[in-house]
């Protein structure tokens, strides 16, 4: 067993342990922290498998940016998720996962190619970037459009709804009894009713 293989199995143990702990936590904050460990292990694994640029991207984007955004949103929702207990349906979920895993493992090891030992090779960041912008520049542009669409949608969703309330107040004639869509008061009554009905 070479040194690379030892490193691979250690990283595999780290990734599996951290992910397993993350998906079973009740508190999302703990899950996110364990997931950061899992992503750092994944970055090291990418480095081992010859993708140093992707390792850097995983550290920056996954472990750095995305997880911090998730943490901020968890802090934004002040209600501590104590009442969000784990579903009582761990049984069916685990059964589903085990069936999927059995099928996937049997498919992987049925193929003769799975025994091929990987040869070490490194895609230098310079070569990788040249390759990407040479052959897949259109996909890069499409991804930028995807980000633009996501940005517009997030700004629209994140806007406070005061504009709707103003509209209802300013134009009572056009919308005399608020029949077409609920006013702000009605909406708050609805949401309060939902909250009280379940607590």
């Amino acid at each position: 067993m070479t040194l690379s293989a030892v490193i691979f199995y250690l990283l595999g143990i780290v990734i599996l342990t951290a992910t397993g702990l993350a998906v079973t936590r009740q508190q999302p904050v703990h899950a996110v922290l364990y997931l950061i460990v899992a992503f750092l292990g994944t970055a090291a694994l990418f480095f081992l498998l010859g993708a140093p640029l992707l390792a850097a991207f995983v550290v920056i984007i996954y472990a750095g940016a995305i997880m911090v955004v998730v943490l901020f949103v968890i802090m934004l929702l002040q209600r501590s998720p104590h009442d969000l207990r784990l579903l009582s349906e761990w049984g069916p979920a685990v059964l589903l996962g085990v069936i999927f895993l059995a099928v996937a493992v049997s498919m992987v090891f049925k193929d003769d190619g799975s025994g091929i030992v990987l040869q070490g090779a490194v895609a230098q960041p310079r070569d990788f970037g040249r390759f990407l912008f040479d052959k897949y520049w259109l996909a890069v542009e499409i991804v930028s459009i995807l980000f633009l669409v996501a940005l517009v949608a997030i700004i629209h969703l994140g806007k406070r709804r005061e504009t709707d309330a103003d509209e209802d107040d300013v134009n009572p004639v056009r919308n005399p009894n608020g029949a077409s869509h609920p006013t702000a008061e009605q909406r708050s009554i609805i949401s309060n009713g939902v909250k009280e009905g379940h607590s």
Partner: protein, 101 residues
């Protein structure tokens, strides 16, 4: 010489199954999104391993796009969660029953 290809795929499959369980079993929208992230991470591991197996850079390019799509997905999903929390005061999907009269 690192390891057989099947072992890397086995690792990716295990991580993917964990993400699947997290996605199905939790009753918290944030944990659901985390499950999707874990599944995308597993897909990225499999792509990098395949890229090394065939000594082609297409797999790594695909991982870059997986990263981009995953970033867009998680940010949009979190914006939806915040919007839903503002409307209903809860992030439990079972409580979204305004339309049920």
């Amino acid at each position: 010489m690192i390891v057989p290809l099947g072992h890397v795929f086995l690792l990716a499959g295990l991580v993917f199954a964990m993400g699947l369980v997290c996605l199905v079993a939790h009753r918290n929208l944030i944990m659901t999104l985390i499950g999707v992230e874990v599944m995308m991470n597993a897909a990225a591991i499999a792509f990098v391993a395949a890229s090394l197996r065939w000594q082609l850079m297409e797999g790594q390019a695909f991982v870059l796009f997986i990263l981009a799509v995953s970033a867009a997905e998680i940010s949009l999903g979190l914006a939806l969660v915040v919007s839903l929390y503002r409307r209903t005061g809860s992030i439990d999907p079972d409580r979204y029953d305004i339309l049920k009269w």
